[in-house]
């Protein structure tokens, strides 16, 4: 028993926690002849550390049973490092960053939390749900905007399909990565020889990113630390609890993370300096961590900014009507300990359990098993009258079609999102022309068959076709293999390298031709460039465009900001009808430009109705009939008036006659 336990601890020390051993191995590999000795020594050290650590596994040391009090528990807690040792900043040398796995996981089931929606994209057994916003691999210089998601949403590319390793994922998207997932996937990390995980540490689930209500929580600082590859230090640096110096990205590959010394680059070795005033006599720290994450925490990753000059700057705009009424994101987007945050679309299993879809709150759910859910009214949600709106609209349109996102105009807007454009990350200056180019609102059918507003991205990327397709005619069905911007830059050399501070110019036709030529000369499958809904290839030295499924736009439904009733589409009686039922209605006939980061002529525009799969002619004619609606109403009501008058004029005497006859009969008299 003891031996088995010891074996497990040794294995654990090697596998999960022995950074020193692995690091030493890596170091030893670079020093021929010392490998075995170093490994053995490191293993011994790891075993000693393992036996002395107070908290080792992922299971909570202290199980917290919910007591169902509405009072938020006061989190005055000790901090623990990756090894599970309590952090005592005045005694430790070197001072270690806190580990959320060990600190939060001391009481809460970290393993269960780490399987939550924000962290589980790469897990094989997780239902993908309806399409959502992907990560977008964007690069203005190479004209790349490639939707990436491990969830397998149709139209996105899985990271491994385009050769993105977990390390590269973190480099590209880590600034808004909530931690967890491939950020601490040891198996994935080990298989990535180009990574520097041993130096950077894991990007653990950053509980504080969402739950820390302290206004000192600085996700911009988190992004900076991630950019420096200071993954292990990012959470504590962002929490405002400590200042972190250092720059792992600048450290050489043979840096020893055990001794944490680099004599020639001392300033680049990460160092933690805790704010000692935050520690009490027992070296505990108070965290203001409410159960429901404040909206401000969500915004760092879930901000969307519509580039609408007419709407003006941010201060002129309204926020979501729910937030304006004092709610927070987490009031609707709920979760239990499993952190399976409900997305609240119709059919979302998590939303179904919590009953927090638009319809469930505002209109009730007749099919709900719980009686109280049938009437709706959660959180005092008002029941809409939808006066004059035929039920057909509720059956064919999602709630968001009329209530969410910017009001459509003649052309879809450009929109920037925090995850795609780094809004809130101060190192990225706001640029209205920044890639990726995303359009909203684009009305199209969602997975439930209802029309809903979407955000849309036209993929743009370099790719190769399978070997042997050159000269073939079936370009419209051939599968492509995308190239990452790094691969394109490596292949083309000087063409896409820009000096510091120089703004890259979008690829033009000449550049695309040159690049395709260079890529073709390198061998491999025929190179192509996908953008603006087309796939471009070289044919006799000329650029030729054709269709291909890979060029189809990727769209995901938008849910926010929800506008108040008075600003909903269709509101305002007859005037509201023609917001959509008009021959030039943006809802049906608004233009969606096939936005491309490359300059290959004027982007073609697609009408919204072409995405909706409906007949433009029919809707033009149908909209035209609304011109005559006022006349129809006049005729109809006048006819009703005439009919009513005639019926009254002739019906009343008939009634009088019938009543008299009945009376006479009742009295026994004659009808005559």
């Amino acid at each position: 028993m003891v031996r088995a336990c010891l074996s497990r601890r040794v294995a654990s020390a090697f596998d999960r926690r022995s950074r020193s051993a692995a690091a030493a191995c890596g170091f030893a590999e670079r020093i021929a002849g010392a490998a075995r000795l170093a490994t053995a020594a490191a293993a011994t050290v790891a075993l000693a550390l393992s036996l002395s650590a107070s908290a080792r596994g992922d299971a909570p040391v202290r199980t917290v049973s919910p007591d169902h009090s509405r009072t938020t528990p006061t989190h005055r807690i000790a901090l623990y490092d990756e090894e599970g040792r309590q952090i005592r900043p005045e005694l430790d040398e070197p001072v270690q960053p806190l580990s959320t796995r060990k600190t939060c996981g001391y009481c809460h089931d970290y393993g269960k939390i780490a399987a939550g929606w924000h962290f589980n994209a790469a897990r094989a057994n997780v239902p993908p749900g309806r399409p959502g916003q992907p990560w977008i691999l964007a690069d203005a210089a190479t004209g790349t905007q490639l939707p990436v998601s491990a969830r397998g949403w149709a139209g996105t590319w899985k990271p491994d399909a385009i050769g993105l390793t977990p390390w590269q994922m973190m480099s590209a998207f880590g600034r808004q990565w909530p931690g967890g997932g491939v950020g601490e996937d040891r198996a994935g990390q080990k298989s990535d020889p180009g990574s520097r995980w041993l130096l950077s540490g894991d990007l653990e689930v950053n509980c504080l990113a969402c739950h820390n209500a302290d206004s000192r929580q600085d996700q911009n600082c988190y992004a900076e630390q991630v950019a420096r590859e200071n993954y292990r230090w990012a959470a504590v640096a962002a929490s405002g609890l400590a200042h972190v110096d250092g720059y792992v990205k600048g450290l050489p590959g043979n840096f020893d993370p055990v001794t944490m010394t680099q004599p020639d680059l001392p300033g680049w070795v990460p160092k933690v300096r805790y704010d000692l005033s935050r520690f009490n006599a027992k070296d505990e720290v108070f965290f203001n961590v409410p159960r429901k994450a404040p909206a401000n925490r969500c915004y760092y990753c879930h901000t969307n900014y519509t580039l609408d000059a007419a709407a003006g700057d941010e201060w002129r705009r309204d926020e979501d009507v729910h937030l304006a009424r004092g709610m927070t994101c987490a009031d609707c987007h709920r979760n239990g300990l499993d952190h399976g945050v409900s997305r609240n679309y119709e059919g979302d299993p998590a939303a179904g359990a919590a009953g927090r879809t638009c319809r469930a709150c505002h209109m009730g759910d007749d099919s709900a098993r719980r009686v109280e859910l049938r009437g709706g009214g959660h959180l005092a949600a008002p029941r809409p009258r939808h006066a004059g709106i035929p039920k057909l609209h509720l059956d064919k349109l999602s709630c968001t079609a009329c209530h969410s996102g910017p009001v459509p105009r003649g052309q879809a807007y450009l929109v920037q999102t925090s995850r795609a454009h780094g809004l809130g990350y101060h190192a990225m200056a706001f640029d209205p022309n920044a890639v990726p180019l995303i359009a909203e609102p684009v009305f199209r059918e969602g997975g439930d068959g209802k029309l809903a507003p979407h955000r849309m991205l036209w993929p743009a990327f370099w790719a190769r076709l399978p070997q042997g397709t050159e000269g073939g005619s079936d370009y419209e069905h051939v599968a492509v293999t995308p190239l990452t911007p790094a691969q394109v830059i490596d292949a083309t050399g000087w063409m896409y390298r820009f000096g510091e501070g120089r703004r890259p110019r979008p690829p033009d036709e000449a550049k695309v031709v040159n690049t395709l030529g260079i890529l073709a000369a390198k061998g491999g499958g025929q190179p192509v460039y996908v953008t603006g809904g087309k796939m471009y290839r070289l044919d006799g030295g000329k650029l030729v465009a054709c269709n291909n499924p890979a060029a189809r736009p990727y769209a995901w439904p938008l849910g926010h900001d929800v506008r108040p009733t008075a600003q909903a589409l269709g509101c305002g009686g007859a005037a509201g009808c023609v917001q959509c039922h008009a021959t030039d209605s943006p809802f049906l006939f608004g233009q969606v430009p096939a936005l491309s980061p490359a300059s290959l002529g004027t982007p073609r525009a697609v009408r919204m109705i072409d995405f909706e799969g409906r007949s433009a002619l029919f809707h033009k004619v149908f909209a035209f009939t609304f011109v005559f609606r006022p006349w129809l109403k006049v005729v109809g009501f006048a006819a009703c008036g005439v009919l009513a008058l005639v019926l009254l004029a002739f019906g009343m005497p008939a009634l009088r006659w019938a009543a008299g006859r009945i009376g006479r009969r009742a009295a026994g008299g004659s009808d005559e």
């Binding site: 035929p390 009703c640 005439v642 005639v646």
Partner: protein, 230 residues
């Protein structure tokens, strides 16, 4: 069971029952008496309908036919009224309302019930000829039924076009509309059956505007007595 499904069943049952009743009436009552029926077009000497009246009657009949087809075709198939059918249905409804109102103004006086109208069932059931004015009992009953049903059928749709009712209210209006329309359609079918099979020549009178004296004296003896030949 959904409201749509219920309406589909009721409609099918209603039309089937009506078709059976009309067929039975035709073969039991109407067909044996066809040999003695005078033709309206034989000697068209009496003016029965003016131009305006004919336009109104034809317009009303045509709009009702369009409404019935566009409205009940999808309903009987268990589908929703939408698309092109809806686009045709709505203006046809406006036309029907217009013609119904004009018809009400034109013929309400002629369709006032009189004492002799109470005996119309004798002809219906006992094959007896009864005295009738310009319109006989069944015609007057059909007229008032059409008017009485046209009002709610039209009004429900007119009210649904103003932002006064929510989806539930609109659904209720729609229920009244379609069940009212079902009754209206059945009344109209009975009326057409009466006009086409029972009193042959009525359609000719509608188109030409004139009828033969023999026809008028047979079916509308009181009215024919006061009409001079033209």
């Amino acid at each position: 069971m959904s409201a749509d499904r219920l309406f589909q069943i009721v409609s099918i049952a209603g039309f089937a029952a009506l078709a059976g009743a009309l067929a039975a009436h035709y073969f039991r009552i109407v067909r044996p008496s066809l040999a003695t029926a005078p033709a309206a077009e034989g000697d068209p000497s009496i003016r029965r309908y003016g131009l305006l009246e004919r336009v109104v009657l034809i317009g009303l009949g045509a709009s009702l036919a369009v409404l019935a087809v566009t409205g009940f075709a999808p309903a009987l198939l268990g589908r929703r009224l939408e698309g092109v059918l809806l686009m045709v249905h709505v203006p046809a409804g406006g036309a029907m309302a217009f013609f119904a109102a004009v018809a009400a103004a034109l013929w309400a006086g002629d369709c006032r019930f009189a004492a002799h109208d109470g005996h119309w069932w004798r002809r219906c059931c006992c094959r007896q000829t009864v005295a009738a004015g310009r319109f006989d009992g069944p015609q007057k009953a059909a007229f008032w039924a059409v008017l009485a049903l046209s009002l709610p059928v039209t009004l429900t749709m007119m009210l649904s076009m103003v932002p006064a009712f929510g989806p539930e209210g609109l659904e209720t209006l729609h229920e009244f509309h379609r069940y009212g329309a079902l009754l209206l359609t059945m009344v109209v079918l009975v009326h057409w059956h009466h006009a086409i099979t029972v009193r042959r020549g009525s359609l000719h009178a509608l188109v030409a505007g004139k009828v033969a004296r023999a026809w008028a004296e047979r079916y509308h003896s009181l009215w024919a007595a006061g009409r001079a030949d033209r």
